[in-house]
């Protein structure tokens, strides 16, 4: 037995399996990112959604009332992935939005125990946060210095709030491809936490 989600796609109502919904949502999000630079991007997306709804409607019968993941994957292969649709000649478009790979230190709010100072520093150097925490605790026990240093760092190092900042924290270039990956990871982790 599966959980289904009720969606409004292009003005039509569908029941869709939970995993199919995740895949569809991810696909539409990628398309949105792909067309982000275009004038009338919302109109393009709306037309695509309407067309996908037409494709799904042809799948629904009295015997089959729910859209499943095969239906979604088939619809995606018919419509095309952002790479298939790319009319900006591939790599040059992907680089259009990327900034050079700034490597900045931020506090990491997604992996924090207290303030994200240790996890942020660990992300910057690409080491295990545990190592940084052990160092701080050692400093704290050996005369309280660790606590003071931690507080100063907490005030001075900004929190990585946006997806772009989280990517910069690791020193990766901020481009469509990496933003897409980050958003997908965040979505997957939220989904995992929602399972009962």
């Amino acid at each position: 037995m599966k959980i289904t989600v009720s969606i409004n796609l292009g003005g039509y109502s569908f029941n869709i399996d939970e995993d199919a919904y995740a895949e569809l949502k991810n696909y539409l999000k990628n398309l949105e990112l792909h067309f982000a630079g275009e004038e009338s991007s919302s109109e393009i997306l709306s037309d695509i959604e309407t067309r996908m709804a037409e494709l799904f409607r042809s799948k629904i019968t009295s015997y089959k009332q729910v859209i499943n993941i095969d239906d979604v994957q088939q619809a995606i292969s018919i419509m095309g992935t952002p790479e298939d649709i790319s009319d900006n000649d591939g790599p040059s478009a992907r680089d259009k939005f990327s900034a050079p790979g700034y490597h900045r230190m931020y506090r990491d709010p997604d992996h924090r125990m207290i303030g994200g100072v240790c996890s942020g520093m660990a992300a910057y150097w690409d080491i295990d946060p545990l190592i940084v925490r052990v160092i701080f605790i050692a400093l704290a026990l050996g005369g309280g210095l660790g606590v003071l240093v931690y507080l100063i760092l907490y005030i001075v190092i900004p929190e990585a709030k946006t997806t772009a900042q989280k990517i910069e924290m690791k020193g990766n270039p901020v481009n469509i491809h990496n933003i897409k990956d980050s958003v997908k990871k965040e979505f997957d982790s939220v989904r995992k936490n929602m399972k009962f």
Binding site: L31, I44, D47, T50, E54, R57, G80, D84, I85, D87
Partner: protein, 108 residues
Amino acid sequence: MDLENTKAQMRKGILEYCILSVLSRSSCYASDIIKELKEAEVIVVEGTLYPLLTRQKNAGLLSYRWEESQQGPPRKYYELTDAGRTYLTDLDKSWKELVDSVNLIRTR
């Protein structure tokens, strides 16, 4: 060199021309345009069509009206504008010139 990539580039170049040609014969829905282009193997994935349709509409070559449908929300019904017809005539000429040029090189 990747043959598929070169073919895809060639198709992309003529897609706008084909869209206008289809509409010059009769006004229709986006799904009808897709059907014809797929049958002629000019497009592979349908998603390619929508950004082009919107761009051509924004450029004043096409217009659409909403057509009510019994089974659901209204759908866009596209037609060529006068500017679109003129543009198509120019494209017809350009296409002929292009074909002639290529044939000249091929058969020399």
